[in-house]
Amino acid sequence: MSKNTPERRAARAQRAAEALKAQQAAERKRNLMVGGAVGAVVLVIIGLLYFALNAKDDTGKNAKDEPTIAANGEIAGEIDGFGVVVGDPGAPDTVTIYEDLQCPACASLETQVGEQVAAAIAEGRIRVDYRMVSFLDRASTNDYSSRAMNALLVVLEEAGPDAFLKLHDDLYANQPGEGGAGFEDDELIDRAVQAGAVEADIRPGIEDKVYDQWIKNATDQMSKDGVNATPTIRINGEDADGQKLVELLQK
């Protein structure tokens, strides 16, 4: 008769509380599962991106082609690690210059001291260790920085240090501005020929960008050497600047 006895009410409240507890437990479980599943998807996305970036970055892979130096002309040269060292091995001072062919500050350094450097090399007063690197491909629409460096290395291999230095100075004197298109391969080949290379010798190497991997590794080595700026100048291994280089050249 009396359905609402205190005992029944208490029992009903307890059942309701238990049901709620069960529902809350089920919900917690569901939320944990959803959270876990979403978390797993996120980890997979991070993993895929990481492996894609890792695969894309081929820094440090063995370079198939490494530049050598044609032994002709008047100026001696050798490859030392990632340095192109030109000038008389008996010269009293060695100047190391890290530079990128697209770097405006390098062009202004070359404008300032290029002729004196060329004269000092020719007279056997200094050797220059050119540490060419390429990290400014993004500054042109056609990867000028690395293609120009490759062209220089091809000229070095096929025509020797004289032509290399001529083309090097020419490319800095006429450096394409940042933000636009740099010289195309044909223009680089024309300039290389003017510097003394034979077109048939250099065209394949320039068009195939044979030293691409070597260039990437050279750029990585600069970063490992703790060099973050171009131009960076060292004189006999000591950090120096344009001013010190000028003083050395006028010595």
Partner: protein, 167 residues
Amino acid sequence: MKDWIGLVARLVTGGVWLVAGALKLPDPASSVRAVRAYDLLPEAVVPTVGHLLPAIEVAIGLLLVLGVLTRFASVVSALLFIAFIIGIASAWARGLQIDCGCFGGGGYDAEAESKYPWDIARDVGLLALSGWLVVRPRSKWALDRLLFRSTSDLSCDERNVHVEEHA
């Protein structure tokens, strides 16, 4: 109102992460060099960090913009900002002149000295927004609300009913 602040915090912080990460994807080698330029980590882990950071940045950006796992993403976001602030401050203190590499690039920057304070100020601001979301992850238009919808509390808890109605 607080839900709207949460939404703004999510979109600003998440948007910055997405852009910062995406800009680094085309050139992983440059990202590695940017990490190395700080000269803080051992060389053995530099390439891994250089490749992992853009991936994490994109993922955290996505989570925050969509409002998925908001609290977890904000904790990671806040920790990363703390790490970046320390990194930039340390580069500044050691007299390094490097671009922070925050949005790609990195390496030498002649005007670095004048940029460090702004980089740090920006990261402190974004850290504050991340902190808000850690403390109060609830926000407008977050997928979290669909994913982790409450079923049990509806009938029993007046306050939740109220909140759900306004959601």
